[in-house]
Symmetry: C2
DNA sequence: ATGAAAGCGCTAACAG
DNA sequence: CTGTTAGCGCTTTCAT
């Protein structure tokens, strides 16, 4: 039975307990090298009986290899990033690699601190959200000597590898879709986050796309804090009171879009006839709303999986001579029920 | 400037670069012991110029101290656990301790594996969701020789410390509130998760509470997978077709409750007159719905903060002689607009 | 198939 | 205030 010890057990303890050298115990526990079945069994039995847990700190120092991969994201409150993490997790399942998550709160200085902390554990790779980083952060990434995958966005120049979608293009495509359906008085609502570069790029893409047709955003508003759903309601109401002639509302995320949708339905507004709506992200949540909000999938889990695969490929065999992978995923518009003024089903 | 090296830099490199012993460099970098201002400056300058990042693997092995705290939770897809993590993060802000997250997918064997992996990094403490664990897991927790805080639930016996709410009591109190408002034909909907012990305890508490008034659940249903909001709609419709005389629906989480609420409003059902509703969790989301769903706060961020504080208290000074903390938080019912048949505002 | 020796990069403990 | 010495617990490498 496992008798509690103040000092954590070492290989030595197991070695003593079963009369086999530390080296052999180590080999058994790591399933490396040839060990006779009998010895193996005795070692395993002793280790289990004692409740021995190997010390990876010592192991990693000795072997100069660490099975950790740093994953650095802006937030956990968003549902977007947990989904990316699920993608990463699923790709690392059944591999020796393990993700370790750091959160930056969209703050460049915090990103710097978090990266420094993680690099001090000498991980085997880094997966980090976004392409915009402080110069110090970029320097650390460059000099770390490990694979680095920047994710979510491809509008920019990565330090090494990159996997994501073009948010600027997403905005442009949404503009095209909106115009194609005959809407022309467009309002925009989003988060007030100067540091959310991806939301900014979608907005820029939208205005670009509209500009090509000689159209400008008629109204816009930005919020911060609070329940996104509630904010969507409030902002939609405020905007329509201010600009009653709007015929389309583009939201920078599905949550506020859903809030707007619910409010408009309450008001008895004809959607998508009188007003069309679209959000961004393809959150699962939307499937339970009375109308399906038009949206665009951000390929979140897929991005996580692809990033993890890149790290695996670069880590596992010898093939890290390949050019850094640059993977652009293509999000698709789901028109749902809120973006089809011209042709109804 | 940081010139990329294949081999990561060591203290030795910094020592060479500034003509100071490794030991002194180490002291400067850790801000430990007295070092003259001049030396300090030279060391810092050299370290920055080289882009040196300390190796915590070596540091932790030498000092026998690791600034990591293992946080083990069932899922990231739930919004409940990210909120707990935010609580943990906030309490560790400005301390040397750092959370490292592991996800179990509600699987006991995976919990065991994840815990083993994390213990092999010799963390300074463990925060783990739930009180139900395999015997092997409990043994590891007992023998780890570090503070262990089991969180979310207090209906059971912890290995060491514990912070949470009584889900059984939450269910009972909801029963009382429901009965007090005059409802009597009660239906229940929840997740089909034999391993979600907290949802199970809420259900048991509810049936207990109703039983005291001689009342039994009239109908119940369980789902798995899919969008919770959509499931809430479907299940509510199905249940009311099956049991049209129900006058109250209790949902095991707010998401399916919100789905049910939206469906009932679509149908023009009088809420809470004809049918009352309640969920569980107090998710921020609800604040944007057309009616406020009655719910009960699970104190998620607070639980995370309190757990982190316990680890800090036990780690920081000498005071780990105190009895293990057992903290029971008290969730409060928010009746919202869906649980007040008798007295309207 | 097993063991012995050396050392991973850092810090505790002690000298000066 | 600064330097020296000896490990931390494991794995690598080389013997046997």
């Amino acid at each position: 039975m496992t008798r509690p010890t103040k000092r954590p057990l070492t290989l030595r303890d197991v070695s003593d307990a079963c009369g086999v050298s530390e080296m052999t115990v180590s080999r058994v526990l790591r399933k490396r090298g040839d060990v006779s079945q009998g010895t193996r069994d005795r070692v395993l039995a002793a280790a289990k009986a004692l409740g021995y847990v190997p010390n990876q700190i010592a192991g990693s120092l000795a072997s100069q290899r660490v099975n950790l991969v740093a994953v650095i994201i802006p937030s956990l409150s968003n549902m977007v990033f947990p989904e990316v993490l699920n993608g990463v997790n699923s790709a690392f399942e059944d591999t020796p690699l393990q993700p370790v998550v750091g959160v930056t709160d969209y703050l460049p200085e915090k990103e710097e601190r978090v990266l420094y902390e993680m690099l001090s554990w000498r991980p085997s790779g880094v997966i980090i959200a976004g392409l915009e980083h402080s110069e110090a952060t970029r320097a650390m990434l460059r000099n770390a000597g490990i694979p680095v995958v920047e994710i979510m966005d491809v509008d920019g120049t990565p330090v090494d590898a990159m996997v994501g979608i073009s948010h600027r293009r997403a905005g442009r495509e949404m503009a095209r879709a909106i115009l194609k359906e005959g809407y022309s008085k467009i309002g925009f609502m989003g988060t007030k986050m100067p540091l959310d570069h991806r939301a900014r790029k979608r907005f820029e893409g939208l205005t670009e796309g509209l500009a090509k047709a000689g159209i400008e955003i008629e109204d816009r508003d930005f919020y911060s804090g609070g329940s996104a759903l509630a904010k969507g309601r409030e902002m939609t109401q405020a905007m329509l009171e201010r600009s009653p002639d709007l015929d389309f509302l583009y939201y920078s995320n599905d949550m506020i879009g859903a809030g707007g949708l619910l409010w408009l339905l309450d008001q008895g507004v004809d959607i998508p006839g009188q007003i069309g709506l679209a959000g961004f992200n393809g959150v699962e949540l939307l499937q339970g709303l009375p109308r399906q909000l038009a949206t665009m999938d951000a390929c979140r889990a897929e991005i996580g999986r692809a990033a993890a695969k890149i790290i695996l490929d670069r880590t596992d065999p010898q093939g890290d001579d390949a050019a850094p992978a640059h993977i652009t995923l293509t999000p698709t518009i789901s028109p749902g029920d809120t973006l089809r003024r011209s042709r109804r089903g």
